[in-house]
């Protein structure tokens, strides 16, 4: 086994073993606590340019199954695990995680004490990291000199509009780093979907006569989004049902006057109980967030908080008081995740149906 090293910006060095591609890599390190769904995580565009560390001890036991792809190629810069599974017995797999990462030139490192590293990152907050062959001064110089991009959305969003046809409601999806799960869910309702790039204009949306609009999830800081997006939200939420997810939720919040804060410890996992305020129902869902809506700022707006994370009180859902417009911070497409979270899609499509007088097609 080839020895490799994970080095952090604060000078910490972890020795491990290579898997995946042999390349040197740099990125912001995040840790994910889910026990399943590694493939969906490493192909989710919200982790674009990041190195993802899994705290679950063995990763790779289900191999790679292309039905679980959330984008065409992996989006992460590297994968850190305690142990990479040697054997996978999933009958749907077409290759191992190791072969997949190698094919797409993404390096991995195993035999890292991921739980110790998670505790370390909880203390220090998000850091830049690198997977290297030699942890010398030169490697640290390069790591510290690395500038993280703040234009992730422009890098992952589709450059051109495209259709995902269906025979039902006409839905426009704004792509801020769309994951396949969102399209999969809309296809379940036979929606006729048009995906527009992140920098779409009000006119481009209006010309498509949408019955409903979805603001997709996506990576990074909401401040990178063009101003016109907020005009789209403010204008169309008065006309058709609007549904924000992840970054889309954050944009919906900003468009309606709420403020965001960066989280000291990010949420990347699926073990936090989330309460739906209106029914007090408790649910679980996959989360991936580095920013959170400031709950105090919501009181000054025309929105209410609909969902709350029970572990730390972080806002997980919003709804407009006057319009059929709402948003969730978590991933309701459940790829991966507990299926109960899909209720948000039922809600959205039922609002679209109700507005068309109760009938679709």
């Amino acid at each position: 086994m080839t020895k490799r090293y994970l080095i952090l910006q604060d000078g910490t060095v972890y020795a491990g073993e290579a898997f995946g591609a042999p390349a040197t890599t740099f990125g912001e390190i995040v840790f994910h606590t889910a026990m399943t769904g590694y493939q969906e995580v490493i192909t989710n565009p919200i982790y674009h340019n990041q190195i993802v560390m899994f705290t679950s001890p063995t990763i790779g036991a289900a191999g790679i199954n292309h039905r679980a792809d959330e984008s065409i190629v992996p989006t992460v810069k590297g994968v850190i695990v305690r142990e990479i599974a040697d054997v996978s017995t999933n009958r749907l797999q077409s290759m191992s995680l190791h072969d997949y990462l190698k094919r797409h030139n993404v390096p991995g490192i195993s035999q890292i004490d991921t739980r110790a590293l998670a505790r370390h990152l909880r203390k220090t907050g998000t850091q830049k990291a690198s997977i290297v062959d030699v942890p010398d001064a030169h490697a640290f110089d390069q790591l510290r000199a690395m500038v993280l991009t703040t234009r992730q959305v422009a890098q992952v969003s589709t450059p051109k509009a495209y259709a995902n046809p269906g025979r039902g409601a006409n839905v426009v999806v704004l792509d801020f780093g769309l994951k396949n799960g969102i399209l999969r869910m809309l296809s379940d309702f036979d929606a006729n979907v048009t995906v527009l790039p992140y920098n779409a204009t009000v006119d481009e949306v209006a010309n498509l006569d949408p019955d409903g609009i979805v603001l997709s999830s996506g990576p990074g800081d909401p401040r990178q989004i063009p101003d016109e997006t907020f005009d789209i939200i403010r204008q169309f939420q008065t006309r058709v049902p609007l549904f924000g997810i992840g970054l889309g939720h954050e944009l919906f919040a900003i468009a309606n006057g709420a403020t965001l804060q960066q989280m000291p410890v990010e949420h990347h996992g699926m073990n936090h109980p989330i309460r739906e305020q209106i029914t007090s129902r408790i649910m679980f869902a996959t989360q991936g967030q580095g920013y959170a809506v400031n709950p105090d700022s919501v009181r000054e707006t025309d929105m209410f908080v609909t969902h709350i994370d029970m572990t730390d009180g972080v806002v997980q859902g919003l709804r407009h008081r006057d319009y059929p417009a709402f948003s969730v911070q978590f991933f309701p497409d459940t790829a991966p995740g507990p299926f109960e979270a899909t209720q948000a899609f039922d809600e959205f499509m039922e609002m679209v149906t109700a507005r068309r007088g109760g009938w679709l097609s």
Binding site: Q277, I278, R321, D346
Partner: protein, 169 residues
Amino acid sequence: MAKEIVDAMAMQRALTRITYEIIEKNKGINNLVIVGIKTRGVFIAERIAQRLQQLENAQIPVAQLDISTYRDDATDRGSKAELDIDIDGKRVILVDDVLYTGRTIRAALDALMDNGRPAVVNLAVLVDRGHRELPIRADFVGKNIPTAAAERINVNVTEIDGVDSVEIR
């Protein structure tokens, strides 16, 4: 053979959506009262009120309305239905489980008017199955379910039926 067409989750969701729509349409919950038509309309009314309370932290008055003496086919017509809340000048949400011919709602409106003069009356129903015989429509609909006149729609609520569901037979 009864066939379940709305399960418990979908029913909860429909009631949740109706609740949000009530807030949207009324621009809040000021002056709101909810009147449920006996029997199952009352339970649905209470659930909407409970949701409004969870969301807005305010107690919304809920009343039961017995319209049996107002039915156009009733033999003992004439005795007045008593409401135990004041509806004068209020925004009334009238709630029933199924909207069908519209005759029940006509009777309910008469019963309401005998008890005061509401500012507004809106109608919320869990199911609209069509086949109206009077010019009546609902402002808030949980589910539109197209039916044949010969079919029956059954709404079950946990409070008395042990389960939340809508069945067609």
